[in-house]
């Protein structure tokens, strides 16, 4: 049996790992998006007592290697009496970490948001919450679409780190097969194929979304 035939016969393991990776990725990036939106909302307006700690938190996360955050949540939290299983620790770490990145992406775009539009909203009787969700956030998301696309790909690749905290995702499947049959090159090439395929699909989707925003004059298509 050739190496490739071995891998083909073990395709179920790849498939299970792939599904698990997609599950973790899908859930964590969705939560990360919500966290990013929440951070942007909380940074709205001048509340220095909130702004400073939030900025410190965001920057702290961005300066932390992802792997260490995953370690902390999985191996560190139990010493505070919080025990997460590997899957939840992984999702949590990804969500918070990339949530902070997304928050920072949004913040950068918010700085250049035309103040006149906020004034127009105020003049039309909008209060902060509705103004944020109906007028500011949709535009910020359209404006930052290419950066969000990048972040999706980073997040996807970061799921591979979770093999270290024993999550049985795609990279773990390859790792285990390569260890069992001593065929690391082929096993990891298969995994790369998976990551590439998902990334390419995401790229295409994000590009398509660009048509939506380009039509509205957000010239980032």
């Amino acid at each position: 049996m050739s190496n490739w035939e071995i891998l083909w016969s073990a395709r179920d393991q790849f498939w299970v790992g792939f599904l698990r990776t997609m599950e973790i990725f899908g859930l964590s990036i969705s939560v990360a998006f919500v966290i990013g939106c929440a951070l942007l909302y909380l940074l709205e307006g001048s509340r220095p007592r909130l702004t400073v700690p939030l900025r410190v938190f965001i920057d702290g996360m961005r300066m932390l290697p992802f792997l260490i955050l995953a370690y902390l949540l999985y191996y560190g939290l139990p010493s505070f009496g919080i025990r997460l299983d590997a899957w939840w620790a992984g999702v949590g770490a990804l969500a918070v970490y990339h949530g902070c990145y997304i928050g920072e992406i949004f913040r950068g775009s918010r700085i250049t948001f035309p103040p006149g539009q906020v004034e127009a909203a105020k003049a039309h009787g909008f209060t902060k919450g509705k103004m944020f969700f109906r007028l500011i956030l949709p535009q910020i998301v359209m404006q930052t679409r290419p950066l969000l696309g990048n972040q999706l790909i980073y997040a996807l690749k970061d799921t591979a780190f979770l093999v270290i905290i024993t999550v049985r995702e795609l990279t773990a499947a390859a790792n285990s097969l390569s260890g069992t049959y001593f065929i690391p090159t082929e096993a990891f090439i298969v995994v790369i194929g998976f990551y590439w395929a998902v990334s390419v699909v995401m790229e295409v989707i994000i590009k398509q979304c660009g048509r939506f925003s380009a039509k509205r004059g957000f010239d980032n298509a």
Binding site: G116, Q117, E119, A120, A121, K122, A123, H124, G125, F126
Partner: protein, 267 residues
């Protein structure tokens, strides 16, 4: 429920009953150490058009922006249709909600249009009526279509702002403000950002509104327009109102030397 028919909306149809739409009393405002408004008093009657003239930096835009509390004055009071804006009667700052509610009684048109680019023309106009006034989608859209018709933009209902000319944007912005059925329309140099050949179409719309009896306060540099539409012309100089007159008197026989000079230069 508010009347959805724009021609009678906000009971402005030739309403010269003498009721006060905007009352500004003893208004003062500084930016840092610079006094931009000094003890300004102004009354705008329902159905009246007041234009505010003055050179750059005279405080005219600031005065207009105080009316809907985009700028907060340090002293004085402003009432919109009898209701004080910004402060409670006890002199405390209004709650955010209360302020938004009083603000919704004013409609503002900006120099830079400030349309919301992610919404098409129709939705720019229906956005605030639906999400601020709580109108139904159907009611808001019916009203919006009529208003877009009025400003000559009904053919661009589905277009996005980035595809419109400046004059078209401003006409949509006017419809957007009218959709709030405001007690008073505030115009902050509505034609100053327009190419010269587009100024006319916007002024024509505003003139139509004045003929329909809308209450309007307009900051402008367009002298002929001011003369044509105003019931009252106000001249600001260094934050002081130094001349307040009907347009005929203002433009032919102003009482101050400053205004005479201003008019000569702008002839």
């Amino acid at each position: 429920m508010p009347d959805a028919n724009p021609s009678t909306a906000g009971h402005r149809e030739n309403d010269r009953s003498g009721a006060t739409a905007v009352a500004i009393r003893n208004l003062s405002k500084s930016f840092d150490d610079v006094e931009v408004l000094r003890d300004v008093n102004l009354e705008v009657k329902k159905g009246d058009v007041v234009t505010i003239l003055g050179s750059s930096g005279s405080g005219k835009s600031t005065l207009l922006r105080c009316i809907n509390w985009l700028e907060q004055p340090e002293r004085g009071s402003i009432h919109i249709a009898g209701e004080r804006i910004g402060m409670t009667d006890e002199g405390r700052a209004m709650s955010v909600k209360a302020l938004a509610r009083v603000r919704a009684k004013t409609g503002m048109v900006f120099q830079g249009f400030n349309l919301w680019p992610h919404l098409n023309v129709l939705h720019n106009v229906t956005e605030a009526p639906i999400h601020v006034l709580g109108k139904s989608k159907h009611e808001a859209e019916t009203h919006a279509r009529a208003l877009l018709e009025k400003v000559g933009m009904s053919h661009k209902m589905d277009a996005y702002p980035n595809t419109l000319s400046g004059g078209q944007k401003q006409r949509v912005a006017i419809a957007r403000a009218l959709a709030m059925q405001p007690e008073v329309m505030l115009f902050d140099e509505p034609t100053s950002a327009l190419d010269p050949e587009l100024v006319g179409e916007v002024l024509a719309v505003i003139k139509d509104l004045s003929a329909e009896g809308y209450t309007m306060v307009i900051v402008t540099h367009e002298m002929a327009f001011s003369r044509a539409v105003s019931d009252q012309v106000v001249f600001l100089e260094k934050g002081l109102i130094i001349e307040k007159a009907d347009p005929e008197t203002f433009f032919t026989n102003p009482s101050t030397e400053r205004v005479r000079k201003f008019l000569e230069r702008n002839d």
